[in-house]
Each structure stands twice: as C-alpha cells, then as structure tokens.
C-alpha cells in the first residue's frame, strides 16, 4: 500500500516535471521570435548574430532539459 502511494507520487511528480518542458518551449520560442523580429528590421546585422541566437536558445532549453531529467530520475532512479 505504501509502495503504491510512493509509486503514485513518482508518476505525478514526473508528470508535473513535464510541465517544465512546455515552459522552456515558451522560452525558446520567445528567443527565436525576438531574433526574427530584430533580424527583419535589420537583415544585414542578422548573420552576425546567429551564434548569439543559438547560445540563447541553448540556455533557455537547458532548463527544460533539467525538468526532463527530473522526470527521468523520478521514473527510473528513485
């Protein structure tokens, strides 16, 4: 019985951690969208900033991957 409740907690926790990937999707979209709106205003400066774009996307995405990691830990390691 107690094991069942612990299992249930694991699954609920893993599902809640999944919300984090949605939140990081918002972040990545925000970075890419703002880059695009800036790039369309000044296309000549856009090419030099693609590296910055990818770094920004990577930082925004890392936190989503952390939540994925938490979900994985709950499912398989706890």
């Amino acid at each position: 019985m107690e094991g069942d409740i612990a299992n249930m907690g694991q699954y609920i926790g893993a599902g809640l951690a999944g919300i984090g990937s949605g939140a990081s999707a918002i972040g990545v979209g925000h970075v890419a969208g703002n880059f695009l709106s800036g790039a369309l205003r000044n296309p000549s400066a856009a090419a030099g900033q693609t590296a910055t774009l990818f770094i920004g996307i990577a930082f925004a995405e890392a936190l989503g991957i952390f939540s994925f990691l938490v979900a994985l830990l709950l499912m398989f390691a706890v």
Partner: protein, 269 residues
C-alpha cells in the same frame, strides 16, 4: 498471453484507430523507450566493469574512427579540386575555425584543435546514433559529463594561468552598484559552477529525449495495424528533426566551449 494481448490490440487498432493508441498504456502496450540506452558488454555476459568493452565503447570508437577517416584519410590527397570527402572535411574544418575565431577571438586559435576534436566527436557520435540498430553514446551522462568536466576544468585552469587572481574579476560585476556586487558575486559563482551540469545535461538530455520519442512512436506503429502509417510518417518527420538536433547540439556544445574559453581569456565584464 502476451500474443493474445497483442492480437486484441491489433483488432482494436483496426476498428478504433487512434483510440487504441490513447488507451495503449493501460491495456498492456509494450513500449520500452528507455531500453535502447542500456549499456551491455559486447563479448561476454555479466557485470560492466571499468574496462569492459560495451556497445557504448564500440560506437564511440566508430565515431572516432570515422573522424580519423574523414579528416586524415579524406584529406590525404590535398587536391586543388577536392574530392567529396575532402570538401566535407574542409567544410567542417572551416566551420569550426570560423566559430572559434568569431566567438573567442584570434588569440584563442591555438586551442582550436581541442574544440575541433570535441565538435567532430560529438557530431559524428550523434549522427551515427541515428542509424537503425545503433547505440547513442552521447545520450549517456557517463559520456557527456566527462566531456563537459574536461572543458570546465581546462577553462578554469587556463583562466587562472593566463590572468592570475584577475580571473576572479569574472565574478565581480564592476558595472553594478556597489551594494549589489556581493550578491551578484554569489549568483555569478553559482552560475559558474552550474556550467558543467547544464553543458553535459543539455547534450545527453536532447539526444536521449529524441531517441525515446522515436521509440515511443515505433511502439504505437506496432500496435495500430493498418493505421501504422500515421506513426510511421511521424517517425519520418521526427527523424528529420533529430538529424537537425544532432548537428545543432554538437554546434551548441562547441560554441558554449568557445564562450567559456572567451570568459577565461578575457574575464573582465
């Protein structure tokens, strides 16, 4: 028993289509998306020790061998009109060279070999992992954490060797108000030590998530009968996305290495 379940599932799939997929989890649909990341010894059964040759070792070795094949054997001719292998090798070399030069500066070009090695290993390991029946070594934290730790330790040591105590200026934000500086120093310090964590987890997590998604859709395809066309199409689309991700993650790992290197060489804000 299991065959009966599979048979009923296929029947359900034929009559209900998508409904079977929705209820698949509870009616015993056998999807084990994480099984593909299990490390197995190649030549004998039993425990995996420090020096056991595993499937991960094999695919890392294949990645290293293909890098050598491409960059050493492929450019052996040094033709003026390059062969296919030589032009790919030149493209990769020029790409990473330009990245180091743009992000870190010309004075960092002497660290270019290390960054090139990192990029070629990761991009080839990611790419080869997308072959059917292969293994993804970069989805293992045991592979990516040493890669990230090596970068972290090398960059920190380099920062102290090049700048001495002035390297600590990286944590002391001179442009902020004096009251805020100690607080910011703590935050900067924490974010500095989280670097290897996010650096390694980003690569492994992305590759692992992508491969797990492919496996989940493959599980749907096995249970849907004639409607398996839909998940198979989805797999094709995700596979294209994964090809992109395999390259972009290698690019991001490399460019973050360049950024960290730049911080170490020029620590002032």
């Amino acid at each position: 028993m299991a065959q009966n379940e599979a048979a009923t599932l296929v029947e359900e799939g034929a009559s209900h289509g998508g409904a079977a997929a929705a209820h698949g989890g509870e009616s015993g649909l056998n999807i084990h998306p994480m099984d593909q990341f299990v490390i197995q010894p190649l030549f004998h059964d039993g425990a995996v020790g420090m020096f056991t040759v595993t499937n991960s070792t094999l695919w890392m070795a294949i990645a290293v061998l293909s890098a050598v094949l491409l960059l050493v054997i492929g450019t052996r001719g040094c033709d003026v009109v390059p062969s296919r292998a030589q032009s790919v090798a030149e493209l990769a070399y020029g790409f990473v060279h330009k990245m180091v030069e743009d992000v870190t500066g010309r004075d960092a070009l002497k660290y270019f070999p290390y960054i090139m090695t990192l990029f070629m290993f990761i991009v080839l390991a990611n790419g080869l992992a997308l072959l059917p029946m292969s293994f993804a070594p970069t989805a293992q934290f045991a592979v990516t954490v040493p890669l990230a730790l090596a970068v972290f330790i090398a960059v920190t040591a380099l920062g102290f060797i090049k700048n001495g105590a002035a390297f600590l200026g990286l944590f002391w934000v001179g442009s902020a108000p004096l009251v805020l500086r100690p607080v910011l120093a703590v935050i900067e310090l924490i974010s500095y030590f989280v670097r290897p964590v996010s650096h390694s987890v980003r690569l492994a997590g992305n590759i692992m998530a992508g491969h797990a998604v492919l496996k989940v859709f493959a599980g749907f395809a096995g249970a849907l009968g004639i409607f398996a066309v839909i998940p198979v199409l989805a797999i094709a689309l995700f596979y294209a996305l994964e090809l992109l991700v395999a390259f972009i993650q290698a690019y991001i790992f490399t460019i973050l290495t360049c950024v960290y290197l730049k911080d170490a060489l020029h620590p002032s804000h």
